[in-house]
Amino acid sequence: MSVENAPVVDVDEAAIPVEKKMYYRFESNDKKEFRVSELAIQQSETLNRLVEAMGYTSEDVENKPAIAIENIDGKTLKLVFQWCEHHKGEAIPVDDGSVPKIVEIPEFDAKLMDIDNGLLFKLIWAADYLNIVQLLNVSCKKVANMAQGKTPAQLRRVYLLPSDEEDEAAKRAAQEAQDPRAREVEEEFEERKRQGGNSFF
């Protein structure tokens, strides 16, 4: 079964036989509803705090409206909750600041993240917003892996980055909208940088 078609709700009851599971309902900004187990929610610090603060009973969960997540679309949220259900109960890694950081991408995560770059960046954005540490780790690792052995031009394509010219043009347009003199100042600054900014790197 492909990951894309896998149910968000985990039906493997044998995993937690005794405890009665509570499923919370969430809604994406495009009105897609998801049911997510309590244990899976614990992977997200943001959502975990939210449901704790709400203190819903099992009746509330069914009767009250779904909890809205206004910044994330359904397609992204589906991936997020699939990931949380698969990794529920796992310890949340603590960043002790040690470098280099070693993160392995498990097979499930690799398949889950076999998506276009636009969606991958949305997933990173969501993992950061919902504070899902390990999902942020693996998705960032995946994005980092994409950079290996690429030239600046290739990196721009992969990461959808603007060139310096486009970057400056956008900045200038934004500044000019505010202050017409900004362009002159900017040009002078760039000229100075060109004169004194030589470096091997």
Binding site: F121, N137, A144, N145, A147, K150, L161, P162
Partner: protein
């Protein structure tokens, strides 16, 4: 919703950068201004394992080491003074920058490297090579440049959010204050070895270490190496180290006789500091190994008479070793004194090593006193 790398949250960008090697990060800096600014603001680690900086009057040589897939690799970069500017060489790449000063360009890059270094370095080396080709002329040329390098390095290290971490610290200098300036900026917790080198040519300079001795970094380090200069501080100052390697010029026979008078029953041929180290060694709780190098030592025969039974070994490379073993009266500790010399005139070495009786071989036990 933003899907550009330049628009993702800083936390995520920081996370991505921590998985990238220096090549990818430096290339990414070249893609656009906003990413370069973000990378510089985040000061993401370039994952170098050692950073070496060597200054001569006519070039700067930076060596950057990093962990490859199987072994450690090195990026060597030369900044060479030319008639009308500076030439930068790295592998097969060559760039010439007109009207640019080689030291300024090198320091610009050095700043980037040190600012981004968060990981504990294996080695931090900063070598001011005063005696490159012509000692007198070079010293004059190098003095103002060396000053500039030291001041800039100090500023870079001061601006860092956290002190630079390195296990091994080495500087080649001609004055104590030059080493103090940089060593004081290094993180004390990670530091294990302090290694200070003097100049390479004779006569050997005398260098005080009184200012260095005040530094926390000096007090906390486990090992000390003082090479190519005559160590003039009393040897008691070295008691906080576990391993010490120092150099001093041996005194003349006349001085030696004076010591004999003063010291009574102690081995008479040693100079004052040799004698001190002998005593201090037994008193120190930390010291495990002291190596002393000296220029002149012509009285090997007398040494044998005074120290008694010894073990003699000769390697096929011309190294001759005499070892004496003395049992400590109140413990099973054994002080091993080794004198190493070569057939060809090279410095003599003395090594004081603290062992236990269990560590001795049968041959060594036979000569134990």
């Amino acid at each position: 919703m933003p899907s550009y790398l330049s628009n993702i949250p800083q936390v995520a960008l920081k996370e991505i950068l921590c998985y990238l090697n220096h090549k990818s990060i430096l290339l990414l800096r070249k893609t656009c201004h906003s990413i370069r600014n973000s990378i510089d603001n985040l000061k993401s680690d370039l994952h170098f394992t050692s950073i070496h900086f060597q200054l001569t009057p006519y070039n700067v040589f930076i060596e950057l080491f990093y962990q490859g897939e199987t072994y450690e690799k090195c990026v060597p970069i030369w900044y060479i003074k030319t008639e009308n500017g500076c030439e930068i060489r790295c592998g097969t790449k060559k760039i010439h920058l007109e009207n640019e000063d080689f030291v300024d360009i090198a320091l610009g890059d050095y700043e980037l490297l040190l600012t981004h270094q968060n990981m504990t370095l294996d080695w931090f080396k900063l070598n001011l090579e005063y005696f490159h080709l012509d000692p007198l002329a070079d010293t004059k040329v190098l003095e103002p440049i060396a000053q500039k390098v030291l001041e800039r390095t100090e500023t870079i290290l001061t601006r860092k959010d956290r002190p630079l971490k390195t296990e091994n610290f080495r500087m080649t200098v001609i004055r104590q204050e030059q080493a103090v300036k940089i060593l004081k900026m290094i993180d004390t917790k990670s530091l294990k070895l302090v290694s200070i080198h003097g100049k390479t040519l004779n006569p050997m300079i005398r260098m005080k270490c009184d200012e260095l001795e005040k530094l926390e970094q000096w007090k906390k380090a486990e090992k000390l190496e003082l090479w190519r200069f005559n160590f003039v501080s009393p040897i008691e100052k070295l008691m906080n180290f576990e391993e010490v390697e120092v150099f001093f010029e041996m005194v003349s026979m006349k001085d030696v006789l004076g010591v004999k008078k003063a010291s009574g029953c102690f081995p008479s041929y040693m100079d004052v500091r040799m004698l001190y180290s002998f005593i201090i060694f037994l008193q120190s709780s930390k010291l495990q190994k002291v190596s002393i190098k000296c220029n002149d030592f012509n009285d090997a025969n007398q040494l044998m008479q005074v120290l008694g039974r010894f073990q003699y070994k000769q390697s096929r490379y011309g190294e001759r070793k005499w070892s004496w073993f003395f049992q400590h009266s109140n413990s099973n500790h054994v002080l091993c004194i080794t004198h190493i010399s070569y057939f060809i005139p090279k410095p003599n070495y003395f090594e004081f090593l603290l062992l236990t009786t269990e560590e001795l071989t049968r041959e060594e036990l036979e000569v134990l006193q």
